[in-house]
């Protein structure tokens, strides 16, 4: 039952925060503070629960021969084959940990930024987090789709109500892109449901039963495309990434942190858990195309990041670039690449979340995001400059920080599949250095043309940054605990995919080269 609490405590916290924060026109500062504290405490309780799960070795729940940590399985709508089935393995544990951690960072970072309807803001924040946690542990496809859509609506409100200048445009664009792609995924889910029912007589949405659906290759490709539509838009992969810069730029700080840090990872997780294992043969056929899209994403995102003058937009495009690595790694589908994917998702979440928090803090102080107007800020705000430089270096993949581990493992894994692709992807390391150093230099070094004098990071912000710096260094210098946690889940995913296809993905891709 612990999974049930982990999913729904944020929602309950959000409802309480909404109630506490909104007393109509009589809302006072005390109400707002109470709303914030309630959200923070709810997430802290969640964090404790997840850490307890993490520390509880060994993995005792064995479903389908995999290494699962916890499970909840209750029938929900048995007439339609829908059950309330949650299950957590190493991969989902790490991602839920990231969710709660970044959720707390988001709440702390919007302590002073949000004015107006603070209770409702925190409710939307918590509801989005509930949706995200649910996405990471749902094992029933209908439930997965339910949580997938649950993530979208509160995020739309977060962007549209508390965002910046072009917020309505950005929120609508985000919603339409992700909703439409989600509908394609729904079509695929229903297709899988009906085919499974027709072949075996049992109509069920359960992930483990649907894994064994016998599919012809043509049908499998169509269904895989439906899932890929949703996950590639969310990831985002290059032709479908255009919602991201607008959404990330115009969202409030907490919204950007959750968007970049978590929502993008749901796309990566979906690929790992659903797209490839459900359709291994079709994945093999689409793998070269998908990996190419990944490489295009890495390079295109990096070049475009360099071109931006808006600081948040630059960081947004770096997310496109980093997620290109994830796409590449998933479709390389060997142990090293998959380990890299998990570490890359964790580290990108933390480092990009930190960059967005800093950009938000900077915007609160100088009320602009335009880099041509910034410069020489290190002198007036050395702590901010130092932390910014740290995360810029993390973003470019400096060894010693977790992003390096992620990108390196993905490159190693890709090299085993295709040397050409690994070389092209490695070019991404060069281009990412360009934008990372550029963004640090433009904002913090050089002359200070407008003579900004701003307050430096305060205690609240520094504590949060210290925690995130510690996490990145931990992941960079000693990632073994994380690799161990994820290994069981990744191996069982590989087994599921390998058992159903006619050979391992590596061998088949290798033959096609």
């Amino acid at each position: 039952m612990i999974l049930f609490w982990i999913v729904f405590i944020p929602l309950v916290g959000g409802l309480l925060a909404w109630a506490a924060g909104s007393q109509g026109p009589h809302a006072t500062r005390k109400n707002e503070i109470m709303a914030r504290w309630i959200s923070l405490i709810a997430l802290a309780i969640d964090l404790v629960l997840v850490i307890c799960l993490w520390l509880s070795e060994p993995y005792t729940v064995g479903i389908a021969g995999g290494a699962w940590i916890a499970e909840v399985n209750r029938p929900w709508l048995p007439a339609l084959g829908i059950s309330f089935h949650l299950a957590m393995d190493g991969i989902s544990l790490l991602l839920v940990l990231l969710t709660v951690f970044l959720g707390m960072a988001a709440v702390i970072s919007s302590w002073t930024e949000i004015e107006g309807q603070v209770g409702f803001f925190h409710f939307n924040l918590m509801a989005t987090l509930t949706g995200i946690i649910g996405v990471f542990i749902a094992m029933d496809l209908f439930l997965f789709y339910f949580f997938w859509e649950l993530m979208l609506v509160p995020m739309y409100f977060l962007i549209a109500l508390w965002g910046h200048e072009k917020r309505i445009y950005a929120a609508a664009k985000f919603f339409i892109f992700t909703q439409l792609s989600g509908l394609f995924m729904l079509t695929s889910i229903l297709g899988l449901y009906f085919i499974h029912g027709r072949e075996t007589g049992i109509y069920t949405f359960d992930y483990f039963k649907l894994l064994e659906t016998p599919l012809e290759s043509g049908t499998a490709i169509f269904l895989l495309l439906g899932f890929l539509a949703a996950f590639l838009v969310k990831l985002p992969a290059v032709p479908f990434h255009t919602w991201l810069p607008d959404a990330h730029t115009e969202a409030p700080t907490a919204g950007s942190v959750i968007l970049a840090g978590l929502l993008l990872k749901t796309g990566g997780y979906g690929l790992l858990r659903f797209a490839v294992p459900l359709f291994p043969g079709a994945s093999v056929e689409l793998a070269p195309l998908a990996m190419t899209l990944g490489i295009v994403g890495i390079l295109y995102g990096a070049v475009l990041a360099f071109a931006q003058s808006d600081l948040k937009r630059l960081v947004a495009y770096t997310s496109v670039s980093h997620m290109g690595f994830v796409l590449l790694g998933v479709f390389a589908w060997n142990e090293m690449a998959l380990q890299g994917v998990v570490i890359q998702m964790l580290c990108h979440g933390i480092s990009t979340g930190a960059l967005f928090i800093l950009a938000g803090a900077l915007q609160e102080r100088i009320h602009t995001r335009e880099m041509p107007r910034m410069g020489g800020l290190w002198v007036v705000a050395p702590r901010m400059g130092g932390v910014w430089l740290f995360f810029a270096l993390a973003s470019l993949g400096l060894p010693g920080m977790g992003n390096f581990i992620g990108e390196f493992l993905i490159l190693l894994g890709t090299y085993q599949v295709s040397v050409v692709m690994a070389v092209l992807a490695a070019l991404g390391l060069v281009v990412s250095t360009v934008y990372a150093v550029w963004m640090a230099q433009k904002a913090f070094f050089g002359a200070n043309p407008e003579g900004w004098r701003i307050p430096d990071l305060e205690a609240r912000e520094m504590t949060m940054m210290a925690a995130m710096i510690a996490m990145i260094l931990w992941l960079g210098l000693y990632p073994q605990p994380y690799l161990d946690t994820a290994r069981g889940g990744l191996l069982s995913l590989q087994k599921i995919a390998g058992a159903a296809s006619t050979g391992s993905l590596i061998k088949i891709i290798g033959r096609q080269q």
Binding site: P245, L304, A307
Partner: protein
């Protein structure tokens, strides 16, 4: 190599100035000084094209598709909105025309 360096700068100090005075010698001197001109080479081959490609695509050409969809939708909606004249006579005329066409279709098909 060491002897050549000694000869050029200590043995015969005037030799270097004499060589670099001539245009050919000056060219070699500048080439050696700038590290075989690699800075200029990199600038031309990598830096300038990269910056050009980045600046030219600043608005992200991939976005043109979704902006195009949004633009055509609002154009369509605006032009359809022109039919809302508010004059009930025209609406009644529309209903009658539609009924005539529908009836005609039923009779013909």
């Amino acid at each position: 190599g060491v002897f050549a360096a000694w000869w050029l700068y200590i043995g015969r100090p005037g030799l270097v100035a004499e060589v670099t005075g001539k245009p050919a010698g000056d060219l070699i001197h500048r080439l050696a000084l700038s590290g075989w001109g690699f800075d200029a080479l990199y600038n031309a081959v990598f830096v300038k094209p990269f910056i050009w490609a980045a600046r030219v695509n600043r608005g992200d050409f991939v976005d043109l598709f979704s902006r195009g969809v949004a633009w055509s939708n609002s154009r369509l909606s605006l032009s359809l909105a022109r039919t809302q004249s508010g004059m009930v006579r025209q609406y009644a005329l529309g209903v009658v025309l539609g009924a005539v066409i529908a009836l005609g279709l039923v009779l013909v098909l």
